[in-house]
């Protein structure tokens, strides 16, 4: 790795137009089944960023999930979000040359805080101002959603066809068809999603993993919105449903917004800035969709362990989360709730 770090320091130095860049600390950060993050402390001498900086190098893990973006694409999304005033770690440079760090990567500033959902839902600092924090998280989501197909173009994102919901159902079915075994309960949920898909669609850039656990919080204050690898055009209710879905409340089921507070506070922050109203029926639909998406990912993660050559207890246990997601899906989609075409 010494040679790699020499090349990395050369890359950083060139990008910062510095006389030299010294890497003082370099360490792999925890988490990230799909991407790997490294904490990077550097000192630039001269140039644009003269002085000490705490940075993150983000690269692909050896095994990729096909739906996630490349690092270059994620960098582009992060840059556009940053320009739109979204609280993301400032993206600095992207590198596609594999001779520098073996895999493509990008560099962003490091933000302080904790992003583990199970810890955050018990955090006293959050409890004292949960409603204020949720309003702020609603405001931030509205800022992400200010990026629309009318205002922005991304070469790697296409408008979902015919609608985000139906495109999602078709994608999930393709995923299931590639996996071993049959999943009748998942099929039941997919049929419900197909029959109940919303007709009105307002496309905006959705983060598609906007939830407690991907939001860095320091002492109850948001410091950065992370993990943009799944961002895509979708109806704005998708992110709202994902954030409020029961499966992302980390056991605090009565606190409907992310397991930390009221749905009303989150909605208030969102609607005040976006000017859009939130349709409860659409929010519910996308909460069902959230359980489905997480269930399909959980099956895939389990298979990565069983047949994908990646022995991991974490992946194995994620596979076993599927039963509780299927249970929630069934509770939300009884036969009396099915519409007829």
């Amino acid at each position: 790795m010494a040679l790699g770090l020499e090349k990395l320091s050369g890359f950083l130095s060139e990008k910062a137009q510095a006389d030299c860049c010294r890497i003082m600390h370099f360490e792999k950060m925890s988490g990230g089944a799909i991407q790997e993050n490294y904490a990077l402390d550097v000192v630039f001498e001269g140039g644009l960023l003269n002085g000490s900086h705490e940075l993150v190098l983000r690269t692909d893990a050896p095994s990729l999930v096909e739906v996630s973006h490349t690092r270059a694409q994620e960098f582009e999304l992060l840059r556009k979000a940053y320009e739109a005033g979204v609280m993301v770690p400032e993206p600095l440079w992207v590198c596609l040359d594999p001779s520098i760090f073996e895999r493509p990567f990008y560099i962003m500033r490091r933000v302080k805080g904790v992003a583990e959902g199970h810890i955050l839902v018990k955090d006293e600092a959050i409890k004292t101002n949960a409603e204020g924090l949720l309003e702020h998280l609603g405001v931030q989501l509205a800022k992400i959603h200010s990026i629309t197909p009318e205002s922005h173009t991304f070469d790697f994102l296409a408008a979902p066809n015919p609608t985000p919901a139906i495109a999602g159902v078709e994608f999930f079915r393709k995923c299931l068809d590639r996996l071993p075994g049959a999943h009748p309960t998942i099929e039941w949920g997919l049929r419900w999603l197909e029959l109940n898909s919303p007709e009105n669609v307002t496309l905006v850039l959705n983060h598609r993993d906007y939830r407690i656990g991907n939001l860095m919080l320091d002492n109850g204050v948001l410091t950065g919105i992370l993990d943009w690898e799944f961002a895509d055009w979708s109806d704005y209710h998708e992110d709202i449903g994902w954030f409020c879905a029961r499966c992302w409340r980390f056991g605090n089921f009565s606190l409907e917004a992310g397991g930390i507070g009221s749905r009303e506070a989150f909605y208030r922050g969102y609607t005040d800035i976006s000017g859009r109203s939130i349709d409860p029926a659409q929010a519910f639909y996308w909460e069902v969709f959230a359980h489905m998406r997480w269930a399909v990912i959980a099956i895939q993660q389990g298979e990565r362990h069983v047949t994908g050559g990646e022995e991991s207890l974490h992946l194995a246990l994620t596979g076993r989360v599927c039963a509780e997601l299927e249970w929630e899906l069934l509770r939300m989609t009884g036969p009396k709730k099915l519409k007829t075409r």
Binding site: A182, P184, R191, A323, W327, L338
Partner: protein, 140 residues
Amino acid sequence: MGVTKDDWSKKIKNEVNVERDSPTAKNLLETAISLLRNQVLPNTPVSQKLNLLMISNAMAIAARELNESIELEEATASDLKRLYPDKIQNNIAELNSILSSDIRSGKFDDSDAVYSVLLDNTRRRLEISNPRHLRNSESR
């Protein structure tokens, strides 16, 4: 066609008559989990606590599955054969696959019977994978 569910069930039942060492696999796992949680976990460095909790969770799921998997398979087979009385020669995997296709094609859109089978099967699987989630869910 391979070994049917009924053949397999008979095979297991026959094997129960074979002499087994005591304590059972389930008892061994439960005893090991108790030792891990009560004595090892409190003395484990913070950096390894999550790993240890994952280990004890995996062992607890395995212990419950050892205890309940035969009942789960028998109940599932019985439910599926009730839905498909003309396909009793098919095994569970085949019937699950047929059920999945039928649900996808819309054959059971209004079927209380299918919904009830799915609910019962998922409840039994959840009893194994995460019984606490089931308790929390049913009490709400």
